[in-house]
Subunit: 340 residues, 2 copies
């Protein structure tokens, strides 16, 4: 423990490659080649390798990150741009990414746009400045336009967008099967016996929303279920309010006021499901006694609130892992792979 801590001390002058070279009796070049397992190390005698590795280990040598990056033009970092760190939808994805990268020598550099599109530009610049080798963008439904990401992608930086349906083929996307999710939501309510179902859909411009809606219609058609158009509404496009809570609360009130009959509501996501529940409650109606409500995402608190929220699960952690994996794959083969 004592020695372990000692390595961290800032006071002591850093241990450099030359120190290891001197101690092991070889030149800095050889040491570098061995420790990096550079291609050239094929030519280094086995005994030499052993001795060098042993010495490095014994002295507790850690290469200087900055010197290395300067020379090699590689940062060993992956930029992670998240639209809103406080959004529980995003944090689980982040943890997935972190978990995956932890096994590698890549460090995620997390930047939080704080829901302000202006910050996105700034942070993307910072990422490039810091020579990230790949970019994962974690988008919630408030995501700005993604043209910036296309720019990055053009620059031969591997890029993945996770959490939101992408509409351009230039960028890889990681998302759940939204169509199937919509289908499943309807199926669940149908099996509970509901036949008159209201829907709080996402913003019209959001592809995710359209796909979920398509899934719902598909189920309805299959079951010869007629959907009442008066009970289908979209949340407003990228609202400034920032929250789908208020939006869905208002829509629910509209549904109730319309006098149209219904017994269940499908919400676009978990937060809007909470909005629905709030609106119902304010009208003296209870969930699940009077109405059934179903959300989408399965954010962590969904299971903790009472009654616990019924929701279509998105495997957020796994999505994060998968996104990170995509980047790692792009980085593997030979770094010029995607230049073509």
């Amino acid at each position: 423990m004592a020695t372990k801590t000692k390595r961290l001390r800032l006071g002591a002058r850093r241990l450099t490659l030359s120190d290891v070279a001197r101690a092991s009796g070889f030149s800095p070049s050889t040491v570098s080649i061995v420790l990096n397992e550079a291609p050239h190390s094929r030519f280094v005698a086995a005994g030499t390798k052993l001795k060098i590795r042993e010495t490095a280990e014994r002295l507790g040598y850690r290469p200087d990150v900055f010197a290395r990056s300067l020379r090699s033009r590689k940062s060993a970092t992956i930029g992670v741009l998240v639209m809103d760190l406080a959004d529980p939808f995003c944090t689980l994805i982040l943890q997935g990414i972190e978990q995956k990268l932890r096994e590698t020598s890549y460090l995620p550099i997390i930047m939080d746009a704080h829901n302000e599109p202006g910050q996105v530009q700034r942070y993307v610049e910072m990422m490039i400045e810091r020579r990230v080798e790949g970019v994962v963008t974690v988008a919630n439904w408030l995501m700005f336009d993604i043209s910036l990401l296309e720019d990055i992608s053009d620059d031969q930086l591997p890029t993945v967008l996770v959490g939101r349906e992408v509409e351009t083929p230039a960028i890889r996307g990681v998302m759940v099967n939204n169509e199937a999710g919509g289908y499943a939501a309807m199926e669940h309510l149908y099996e509970l016996g509901h036949r008159e179902i209201a829907m709080v859909c996402g913003p019209r411009r959001l592809a995710d929303s359209r796909l979920r809606w398509r899934g719902m219609r598909r189920f309805a058609q299959k079951m010869k279920l007629k959907l009442n158009p008066a009970l289908v509404r979209n949340l407003p496009d990228i609202s400034e309010s920032g929250s789908s809570f208020e939006g869905s609360r208002e829509l629910t009130n509209l549904f109730l006021q319309s006098g149209e009959p219904f017994t269940a509501i499908v919400a676009f996501d978990d937060i809007s499901a909470y909005g629905v529940i709030r609106a119902l409650s304010e009208n003296g109606l209870q969930v699940p006694q009077d109405y059934s409500v179903i959300g989408f995402d399965d954010i962590p608190v969904a299971a903790l609130s009472t009654p616990s929220l019924t929701t279509i699960r998105q495997p957020l952690l796994e999505m994060g892992e998968y996104a990170a994996d995509c980047i790692l794959q792009s980085l593997k083969p030979g770094e010029e792979a995607e230049q073509g």
Copy 2:
């Protein structure tokens, strides 16, 4: 826009200090001195400064982060260690930190320990390796022992712990007035007319918990309120289960089974408040009709769940900002300030 984007292109060889020097007709030294406003720049002619700045601006010069850090031994980064990114308690604090640092040239490097103490060691090493100039640790109540942080602090790295009461004077802490919080919670319930109040306190070893408890007792004494010892329980110490939800749910069940009379419950934090509500609900009891419950923290969802959770607010965002500010202050005066 086009030119702005152009600056980002990776393809084009980076623009270096020498390029600016050549274009402006001065030497790299002078350019460096001017652009950094180094002490020596007092001696540079005003016209020269102007010309250099103009040229740098025109060409869109951005210094290379790695070269700069290598030479100057400064990284312009602040390490942010968070115990659990998925904990809503932590994320708001993080945003506060980010918000504050955004105004400066420091970049937060966020590392998520994922609730695993083992990772803490690893990440602290990474931070030092990356030469962070300060460390902010965002602790939730599951925080491991903080001896590691003391090590850092010994190494003359400014260190702040936010979100949890610290017991050692070696480390600066940023936290809410827990004692006053406990007092306020009791006061609130008292004013609602409650006289028999149960408490789900935090783990006994946690200083925060003790202080809140002290605040509650103080109010009780002042009001000559007798607290029933059978209705005061602590959550288990740093449980492996990881969640205070289950713990407080069980304690609430114990309270109910004990047959002791009570009409309100103070919970240690918001998550445990949800545990209380769940337990009550499972016994056919409703909040707020049958029982009053109060939490602590004011995590974002507290306002969204129905009924919305009554809670003692911690100004998480502001705490984050303040913590970042502490670090910035330590960094200002002259970097040797805290060496003494």
